[in-house]
């Protein structure tokens, strides 16, 4: 999967250039020092003398080591050094330009917001990263659309950060880690949803390497990366289940959620399972007034990468028909090792209308892009 493409864009694809919305583009700071211009002295000192404090047995690394160059395309590490995803010129040269990306939705992982136990530090880092995104990435490259980073376990502070950032209309969504301390439907997180609804911004759930300190599979901790990667899907399922059964979409009918990098072929099945058990246990959740699959169908969008690989093309088509062609949005996951090239992501032919929806129209409608 780490082969370099010599000629990334075939001539026949150039007509489609600059029309794709990529809903999962990762950027990261070269080091914490990159964020110093936006960190108060008190927190710069904290970085130097205390550092990160995480819900994980190892520090500054993933407890389930990634495949292939720490989970990155080997060719995405800048020649001048630093981690993959820290160089705007390389992102432009390697992905945005040759792959015809009109807009890239930024998912700024890294620098430890999600796993940080010190919530005041997480808050300071969030503000710094949000400012850094604007000045270092979005100002020089307006194709990039940032997401607001928040210290999600402290809803009050998260709301303040959402309100501060939402004043800048370049922020198109709010990034939340599905690996929270508690399932995200619970009331402690509702102020964030109220703020998102007020601001008219979708929430993007993207799996983080470390999170709330629960065994990622729900059935014990995985041993291998193959197992850990499967939890991206099951964790996303658990979050959507929680949001629906806690009544979040009843309480916040304008709330929109994007499930990024969690897979999507399981989504129809999840709706069916929820409907089945809801029909028997409605007395437990009287606040859930409609079949759960209806909330799934009307409030959730899914990104494509990593796309499950069906045995027959017709199977993938069945699943997307059930899911809804208006719910699926292309994502590449650049610069990660399992990056999906927009030309090869779908192993089946799409009609022009299907292609239009998945590669740009759905995202443009959702995010209000031109």
């Amino acid at each position: 999967m780490n082969q370099q493409l010599v000629d990334p864009l075939r001539p026949e694809d150039k007509r489609a250039a600059a029309s794709i919305v990529d809903c999962d583009v990762h950027i990261t700071a070269r080091s914490a020092v990159d964020l110093y211009p936006w960190l108060p002295a008190r927190w710069r000192e904290h970085v130097e003398t205390i550092g990160a404090h995480v819900r994980s047995g190892v520090y500054n690394q993933e407890p389930h080591p990634r495949m292939m160059a720490r989970g990155m395309r080997a060719d995405a590490y800048p020649e001048e050094g630093g981690p993959a995803g820290c160089s705007l010129p390389l992102l432009q040269r390697q992905h945005l330009d040759p792959n015809g990306i009109q807009f890239g939705m930024l998912i700024a992982l890294g620098r430890g917001i999600f796993e940080e136990r010190n919530q005041a530090f997480a808050a300071a880092l969030s503000t710094a990263i949000n400012n850094w995104q604007l000045e270092k990435w979005v100002d020089p490259e307006p194709r990039l659309m940032p997401a607001i980073i928040v210290p999600q376990e402290d809803a009050e502070v998260a709301v303040a950060e959402i309100e501060r950032c939402a004043a800048d209309t370049r922020f198109k969504q709010i990034l939340i880690s599905p690996k929270s301390l508690e399932p995200l439907g619970r009331k402690r997180y509702w102020p964030i949803y109220a703020a998102a609804e007020r601001a008219g911004l979708p929430l993007a759930f993207h799996p983080a390497a470390i999170g709330g300190g629960h065994f990622s599979s729900g059935a014990g901790s995985p041993t291998y990366y193959l197992e850990e990667h499967n939890t991206f899907g099951t964790i996303t399922q658990a979050v959507l289940t929680s949001l629906i059964f806690e009544g979040v979409f009843e309480r916040f009918p304008g709330l929109k959620v994007v499930a990024v990098e969690g897979g999507f072929t399981w989504a129809p099945m999840l709706g069916w399972r929820m409907d089945k058990y809801w029909s028997r246990l409605r007395a437990e959740v009287p606040h859930v007034t409609r079949p759960p699959s209806e909330y799934l169908r009307s409030h959730i969008w899914f990104t494509t990468q990593p796309m499950e690989e069906t045995r027959k093309q017709a199977h993938l088509r069945d699943v997307i028909d059930w899911l809804g062609w208006d719910r699926l949005m292309f994502s590449s996951d650049y610069p990660h090792w399992d990056f999906d090239d927009p030309r090869y992501a779908f192993k089946m032919p799409l009609s022009d209308e299907e292609r239009r929806k998945v590669f740009h129209a759905n995202a443009k409608v959702l995010y209000g892009l031109p």
Binding site: S216, G220, S221, M269, L281, R311
Partner: protein, 367 residues
């Protein structure tokens, strides 16, 4: 729809766990004293994930008469075995002793449950077969219990909860798999959680309904663990039966494993084939609760997605409430597939049924 012939093997039905007072005769003096003196014998050992008062745990018309003493087995006979024309039923007694941290105490109770099952169930009804209950708290004790009962042909599998303490494929559990494999017994992973940690990767859900929905994630985690740890290669004769797992998550799970394995197979060189091939050969799922919508066209597509007519095993999940009347089979199942899942697949899965089974030969189409 109804099952249109007799002779099915019902691969998952339930009897309530016996009261502790009924188990004391099967215990030695030490444990009998312990349970009496500490009033442990006054507890029901009900699994939190098997809460009997929930509406889906007892079908309303099957709940009638549930309080009459001594007749639960009679009701199971008439309502499940006779009613669906089943020639064999595999009874899974769900017992909370598996959630105890005290491995010796758990083993003492589960030994008694197994002996009670042999004595009060299997020897009372020739159509019934049982599952060997073990705790994984001390795998050596689980091995001893499997070996103790391996000679009793009435026990046809080893029963474990799908969500335990560690992922199920870990090497610490391999002696249990080895013992089951030696005895020719499949491992049945049944829906349920020990609740020793949050049953989802994101913490503790508020509601039972979430726990039920998220069981499929527990089954995914267990299967990918068995795959990744190499259990299927290490124990080539061992079959895993997933009971009350639901079915619709399985195609997507296979697609995901195939895709991921192609990317990460250097991590797992012992996985020598596409995961779906291994899963289809070695993993079986009980029919109920079937989690597709009541739409024959969708069911037909899902069966095509599943890609195998050998993976499903007929079950009623009696007395749980998943269907009404006699409509135990979802619309959309062709009759020849039904015959596979109700007769051929169970007999292929449970080697011990082939040793006994004169009752299985009387097949007649009734509808």
């Amino acid at each position: 729809m109804k099952i249109p012939f007799k002779g099915a093997v019902d691969c998952d039905l339930h009897l309530s766990a016996p009261r502790m007072s009924a188990l004391l005769p099967y215990m030695d003096e030490y444990w009998s004293d312990q349970f009496s003196n500490r009033h442990i014998d006054r507890f029901a050992f009900t699994m939190s994930s098997d809460n009997p008062i929930l509406p889906l745990q007892w079908r309303p018309d099957w709940k009638a008469g549930a309080d009459e003493p001594g007749s639960e087995l009679d009701r199971l006979r008439s309502r499940a075995l006779d009613q669906f024309g089943s020639s064999i039923g595999i009874v899974n007694v769900i017992h909370g002793a598996i959630a105890l941290y005290h491995g010796d105490m758990a083993a003492a109770i589960l030994r008694a449950v197994n002996d009670w099952t042999a004595d009060k169930v299997l020897s009372q009804e020739s159509r019934l077969r049982g599952s060997i209950l073990v705790s994984l708290q001390d795998p050596a004790l689980a091995v001893a219990e499997i070996e103790r009962l391996a000679g009793n042909p009435g026990f046809v599998q080893v029963l474990l909860p799908v969500i335990g303490e560690l992922t199920i494929g870990r090497r610490i559990y391999w002696p249990v798999f080895e013992a089951a494999s030696r005895a020719g017994l499949p491992i049945c992973l049944h829906a349920g959680s020990l609740n020793r940690h949050a049953p989802t990767g994101v913490g503790w859900p508020s509601y039972y309904v979430e726990d039920y929905v998220s069981q499929s994630a527990g089954f995914e985690a267990s299967l990918v663990s068995l795959l990744a740890e190499g259990v299927f290669q290490k124990f080539p004769d061992l079959t895993f039966v997933l009971a009350e797992s639901g079915v619709t998550w399985m195609p997507s799970f296979q697609w995901r494993q195939d895709k991921m394995w192609l990317g990460v197979r250097t991590e797992l060189p012992w996985i020598d084939r596409m995961p779906r091939e291994i899963i289809r050969e070695r993993v079986r799922l009980t029919l109920q609760p079937f989690d597709a919508p009541p739409d024959a066209a969708i069911v037909e597509r899902l069966l095509d997605h599943l890609g195998s007519d050998e993976m499903l095993l007929f079950s009623t999940d009696y007395p749980h409430w998943h269907f009404d009347g006699d409509d135990v089979v979802p619309d959309g199942f062709p009759t020849d597939l039904l015959r596979k899942i109700a007769i051929d697949n169970p007999h292929a899965t449970y080697g011990r049924l082939r040793q006994g089974g004169e009752a299985t030969k009387s097949l007649e189409v009734t509808a």
